[in-house]
């Protein structure tokens, strides 16, 4: 066995998994709090990618793209702010009026919203693939073997570190702050939380905003990492991130991250050692297996059926 190759796939998988994990958090938080699949979340991620691309182009036009850290921070900040407003708006328009209504209605509304956003971006920004020049080049050669060098690029380091930092920040937010308490309270019993003075509407809105902000970070990292985006990237990434959320145990934040990493690793190893064409099949295959043997996911709690 070639360890260098293995290590390289491991690095690639972790990078990919970090991106999936960030998107998956949005799914898992929304599902936890209002029990619906936010189907438009993938599109939010796509819009985040577009925001960061356009911010970069504006920086370039303004002539400050030479100062790399400033550009990156601006991209991160602008994309997070503007994209979270999309998350807020989607909840306000398509989900809030349907809250407490018939379950499938919210799902159809979400699918409609997803189609709408996809086509909205397609019309306003064009259907063609948008290229972006690499901003961060180079990397560390970790290991040299006879026919293969293991590369850990700076971009990959940034992705993994940034994801880790965001994870820590958000876990603290959920675990320690009053906002997090309100969220957990709404998750358990919305009516009761409302009676005890938690502003339920605002808490749910905040959840959507947080999910969208994380998805936009994922969008920005994909833009930088792969260098190409188009209006269609949201669908597959969204489905895989949801798979990751289910795999990790829906409703659980660390579960979403773990699920994302696992999906990323499965994808990387499958394309590295087997066929690249069937990597999506592998992902879904794993999902089916997990759901059959452990329907509550890896880190979730089994639900007790109440009569």
């Amino acid at each position: 066995m070639d360890w260098a190759y293995f290590l390289q796939q491991l690095i690639n998988g972790l990078t990919l998994g970090a991106i999936y994990g960030l998107i998956a958090i949005g799914y898992t938080m929304v599902y936890g709090i209002i029990g619906m699949i936010n189907f438009a979340h993938g599109e939010i991620y796509m819009i985040g990618a577009f925001h960061s691309l356009i911010t970069f182009l504006i920086c370039q036009a303004a002539g400050i793209s030479g100062i790399l850290p400033l550009t990156l921070l601006l991209m991160l900040f602008v994309s997070m702010v503007l994209t979270s407003i999309y998350g807020w708006g989607v909840e306000r328009v398509a989900y809030r009026p349907l809250r407490g209504s018939f379950r499938l209605a919210a799902l159809i509304s979400a699918i409609g919203m997803s189609i709408f956003l996809q086509n909205f971006v397609q019309i306003s920004q064009g259907a063609r693939v948008k290229p972006m020049q690499p901003l961060i080049e180079g990397g560390i050669t970790m290991m040299k073997s006879a026919n293969f060098d293991v590369q850990l690029s700076y971009m990959q380091i940034i992705i993994i570190v940034l994801t880790f930092v965001l994870m820590v920040v958000f876990s603290t937010l959920i675990a320690k702050t009053s906002l997090g308490r309100a969220q957990r309270a709404c998750e358990q019993d919305r009516t009761m939380a409302g009676l005890l003075g938690v502003n339920v509407d605002r808490t749910i809105s905040t959840t959507f905003v947080m999910g969208a902000a994380l998805a936009s970070v994922a969008g920005m990292m994909v833009t930088l990492y792969y260098g190409v985006i188009d209006f269609y990237i949201g669908f597959l990434a969204g489905v895989k991130a949801f798979t990751a959320a289910v795999l990790g145990g829906i409703g659980s934040l660390p579960g979403a991250m773990l699920g994302g990493l696992l999906i990323g690793l499965i994808e990387a190893f499958w394309s590295g050692y087997l066929t690249i064409e069937y990597k999506d099949v592998a992902t879904f295959g794993i999902l089916v297996l997990v759901l059959i043997f452990r329907p509550w996911g890896l880190l979730g709690k089994p639900e007790v059926e109440k009569v």
């Binding site: 577009f50 691309l53 182009l57 379950r103 971006v121 019309i123 306003s124 920004q125 879904f284 009569v307």
Partner: protein
């Protein structure tokens, strides 16, 4: 909104604050996605600023919000309708400007139209009048009495609809049967009707799974694909005729349903949805990559067209040993014959689907589906095997999907994985849910609305899917339980159907 708050009016400064808030939101949402266009240049991406679109977006948001405020404050619906019309004009202007607007300083297109030629004035006025009328009549005056009356009217319609379901169905069937007689020469009308009929059939098939058994299936298109490919492959590789392949396609799809359903049907609700979605994608990925069998992304072309029940052919040049349809009937050859025949074929297939569903509902298995939908735990305690019951619904739904797929393949003559994307599944599910789950006539209505209307506005191709998505959201907000939304069990204890109808109308 409850009437208790009707008297407390919001002060002017609060309204201004609210409007300013939404203006800022609109600005932030549109500033990049709308306001800046990325243009491909040989040197890389460049930017083009479209400040006018941002302005219009803010304007329409503020006006729309103002309409909502007016409504909330209970001001006359004339003002509300005017606001909505104005907002619609803004949105229209935005769409026009998307397309071909090099000069950002150009005067509004709507104004140009309104002062243009006589016809353009007429068109503009008509458009505004229609929007205004819709807005005016869909608004309710904010008064408790009127609200009561309108619910009374809608429940009257419900009673009328429910006590005449059979008549409405019969009228519908007669209409669809004489449709080719009316539009016999109009090729595009027949094509459109055939397409709508395919979706009606798919909707009815999925209705068994989603509407009756309550299983959320996001991958129904997989069975459609299995049906289409099994007909295409059987006819190309083994030279089997359409009439032999049609049942085979159904059987293949049904066995696929069983194979897929067996492991996953123990899952509940959303998990089932995501797994079926996954299976839909897996089938598509396999179709794309199994090049030797399916032709990969190129698909399968020149699939055999159906004959007239094996008796006659529809083509102009009749092959040796068989006769043409025109000769058989003693009429002149026309290329429309095949289209009309295909139309009747799918009509009958769809009606068979409907008939079987209606009968199955009355069988023990159908009762078990509905019972399972209502309460799974109670069913289990009564000795119904949930997995087998669900599996049967899944398999029967899949079978009809397979029939529809085989028909699709023979009608198109060409299939590729492109036709079986997730979007198709979403559309079929939307038809079922929008129709009002479990309602057979609702499916017809939703299919006509969802497939018929967008196809008629082909010229708006770019905006078609955009409007489609927005329409899905709008219909759900307006009627969350679907257009014809009555989802009650077929039978209830100690209650005749008439009493039940009367009881619910109260």
């Amino acid at each position: 909104m409850s009437s208790a708050f009707a008297s407390s009016r919001t002060s002017g400064s609060e309204i201004v604050k609210e409007l300013a808030f939404f203006a800022v939101i609109a600005l932030l949402m549109s500033v990049m996605i709308l306001g800046v266009e990325t243009v491909d240049r040989p040197t890389g991406l460049e930017l083009a600023v479209r400040w006018d679109l941002v302005l219009i977006a803010i304007g329409s948001t503020v006006i729309g919000r103002l309409a909502l405020i007016v409504r909330r404050e209970g001001i006359s619906r004339l003002v509300q309708a005017l606001m909505i019309t104005l907002a619609a004009v803004c949105v229209f202007e935005m769409f026009v400007r998307f397309r071909d607007m090099d000069d950002r300083w150009a005067s509004p297109v709507v104004l140009d139209m309104a002062v243009g030629s006589f016809t353009s004035i007429v068109v503009t006025v008509c458009f505004l009048a229609i929007v205004f009328a819709i807005a005016y009549f869909s608004m309710k005056e904010k008064s408790a009495v009127v609200v009561d009356e309108s619910t009374k009217i809608s429940s009257k319609i419900q009673v009328a609809y429910r006590s005449n379901t059979k008549k409405i169905g019969l009228i519908g069937i007669i209409f669809f049967f004489i449709f080719p007689l009316i539009f016999g020469e109009n090729r595009s009308a027949i094509d459109l009707a055939t397409l709508v009929m395919i979706y009606i059939m798919l909707g009815w098939g999925l209705n068994i799974v989603v509407g009756l058994a309550g299983l959320l299936d996001l991958g129904y298109v997989a069975f459609y694909a299995v049906g289409a490919y099994s007909y295409a492959l059987l006819s190309q590789n083994f030279d089997l005729s359409f009439w032999l392949c049609l049942p085979l396609a159904g059987i293949f799809a049904a066995s696929f349903g069983i194979v897929l359903g067996f492991p996953v049907l123990r899952l509940r609700g959303d998990y089932l949805a995501i797994v079926t979605l996954g299976f839909g994608e897996i089938i598509r990925v396999i179709l794309i990559n199994w090049y030797d069998l399916t032709g990969g992304p190129d698909g399968i072309s020149s699939i055999e067209r159906p004959s007239f029940f094996g008796l006659a052919e529809f083509s102009r040049r009749v092959p040796e040993g068989s006769i043409g349809f025109g000769d058989l009937m003693g009429i002149e050859y026309s290329s429309m014959h095949r289209l009309i025949f295909l139309y009747y074929l799918i009509l009958i297939l769809a009606l068979v689907t409907n008939f079987v569903t209606m009968r199955l509902r009355k069988l023990p298995i159908g009762r078990a589906w509905e019972a399972l939908r209502e309460d799974e735990i109670a069913c289990r305690s009564l000795g119904i095997n949930p997995t087998n019951t669900k599996l049967s619904a899944f398999a029967i739904g899949a079978m009809f999907g397979g029939f529809a797929g085989a028909f699709f393949a023979t009608r198109q003559g060409f299939i590729s994985p492109e036709s079986f994307t997730f979007l198709e599944s979403a559309v079929i599910l939307a038809i079922v849910v929008m129709g009002g789950m479990g309602s057979q006539i609702g499916v017809v209505l939703a299919a006509v609305v969802m497939i018929g209307f967008p196809e008629m506005f082909r010229e708006l191709a770019e905006y078609r899917m955009l409007i489609f998505g927005a329409g899905m959201v709008a219909i759900m907000l307006w009627r969350p339980r679907g257009l014809l939304s009555f989802r009650d069990p077929t039978i209830l204890l100690n209650m005749s159907k008439k009493e039940k109808v009367a009881g619910e109308a109260k």
